[in-house]
Symmetry: C2
Subunit: 329 residues, 2 copies
């Protein structure tokens, strides 16, 4: 089997195992009114990128998957907690084709199930810690703090007239990238890696996370609607200040600039206007800018892998990074 196929099989196998564990974790626990909604949202299929990063980071540190499986489930629960509460804040009806928690149940259930997922996340994380509990819980907690801050900045940006690209990068670093950084750090610390490996993998996770979020912004405008699972141009419709929008605003002049400023003024555009704005993005070259930024952050991420001495480990992280930036959803 080619190395790529082996990696793909490993990922597919682990993803299925994580899915299975997440679906059974809280099944049948009481009160049913709390844990049934938790199980519902945990069963919603996902990439399981975060837990997979914990697994391969631990392995790269010389440990094995089984020693960090609870931590892997914990990080996915932390991530799922953020999705449950974000969906309320975004008034989203669906996620990956499934009804969001507050739509399937109600607001109170969605708030409380989110809180509960976070509590169980800490419980599971603790199972895999020993003498390193303080460090590992510290990393996890920092990630939680930053995610809340990132979400708040994101909301601020919606009503803020002007946002710089640097502010945008800080926001996505907090909202998305730090959690991937944390996965690599926790996996390698639990795996017993020396400090330089922990630092290197953490940097890999952070830069991959930034690339991942810009890719998300890009897919929103050039993705295939069916594969992406969301409405194309949804960010423009919602008036979101994405990487592409801010870059376009930076470059545009005259009539183009007026058109872009109108998105802010009217707090989003109509769905029918999306193609015209996509053309504008192409014309201004911001589609290419986004692709270049994704490539640059990915390159930076891959550069950090030099801390790993095993060729195979480096190849696995590289395969995962490439898979992510080539994704269509």
């Amino acid at each position: 089997m080619k190395q790529e196929d082996i990696f793909n099989k490993t990922y597919t196998t682990q993803r299925a195992l994580i899915d299975k564990k997440l679906a059974s974790l809280l099944h049948g626990k009481k009160p049913v009114s709390l844990y049934e909604p938790c199980t519902y949202i945990l069963s919603n299929p996902g990439k399981r990128l975060r837990p997979f990063l914990i697994l391969i980071s631990a392995k790269a540190a010389g440990s094995s998957y089984k020693n960090v499986y609870n931590a892997a489930l914990a990080i996915e629960m932390l991530h799922t907690f953020t999705l449950a509460h974000d969906d309320i804040m975004d008034k989203a009806d669906k996620r990956r084709g499934h009804l969001t928690l507050h739509k399937k149940y109600d607001l109170n259930t969605a708030i409380l199930a989110g809180d509960s997922l976070l509590s169980v996340a800490y419980q599971y994380l603790l199972k895999d810690t020993g003498d390193n509990a303080k460090e590992v819980i510290g990393l996890f907690t920092r990630s939680l703090i930053e995610v809340c801050e990132g979400q708040s900045f994101d909301t601020d940006f919606e009503i803020q007239a002007s946002v710089t690209l640097d502010e945008y990068l800080l926001m996505i670093t907090k909202k998305t990238a730090i959690m991937l950084e944390t996965c690599c750090a926790i996996g390698s610390v639990l795996g017993g890696a020396p400090e330089n490996v922990v630092q290197g993998l953490a940097k890999f996770g952070k830069n991959l996370g930034i690339a991942f979020q810009i890719q998300d912004d890009l897919l929103d405008i050039i993705g295939n609607e069916k594969e992406f699972g969301k409405t194309i141009g949804g960010d423009l419709v919602a008036g979101k200040k994405t990487f592409l929008f801010l870059k376009a605003l930076e470059k545009a002049q005259g009539q183009d600039k007026t058109e872009l400023l109108r998105v802010i003024e009217t707090k989003g555009i109509k769905k029918s206007q999306v193609p015209a704005y996509r053309d504008l993005y192409y014309r201004l070259g911001v589609i290419e800018d986004a692709q270049n930024a994704i490539a640059a952050y990915t390159k930076k991420a891959l550069g950090s892998l030099k801390v790993l001495t095993s060729e195979e480990d480096r190849a696995m992280f590289t395969w995962l990074a490439n898979k992510l930036i080539k994704r269509t959803r």
Copy 2:
């Protein structure tokens, strides 16, 4: 100075200090849209019972307040997180005379500020832990898990036709008592107490918590409106299945039972009907039953204090317990 006056002064001094620290903790941090609401709700005056329990438990274990101050602030942040989210779920406009977070700001802010308070709570708790991090974080996390479960049971009871007193006791143990148990456990573990002292103080906290909640139910019906700070009979108006209501339902017959069942059917009563139900409670003897239950749980709590060898420490916990059950708000 009489011992009681010394204890009172200690409590008043520490409460003021805790108030001050909570108000300044997150002041000026960015994003302002996140930390300003956190500071607002942390500045809302409270009994600060939970942090005070951590302080005196650490002292009883032979340590001193300063070694557990961050943990004390952490537990109040955990408590405040539950208040922020509970107020949303209860659609409460005010708490202790101040607008609730979602009323002062909006729903999204209240959800996110709650999440953020929880994240910062873990951060502060970690500051006071050393080799005991795993145990202490475990206690804190268990408390969080149980609080979520208790809140969910409480919501279930609202629509559940019949609730037993045992189910009620399980619910308040999770929703209220375990957090007081956790305060005593965390304070004494951080203070370096031997296992039997940790267990004894934890039992004290748990039983005090049950007494505290039944007292809360009692004050709702016989309290002084101005002092209590809530509408008298609010639980009956909301159709809540409190200790008194369930006890009354257990004892009532004929017409009395019909009147009580009507509260469930109509999901609460009118404010004007409260005096008639209060009379019924007196007639059925459930006011006395509640007072007896409070006395019994308090006695049980005080009995656990025998693990403490210092007369003064025992006196401090006893003073606090008596202060709480004699409270009028």
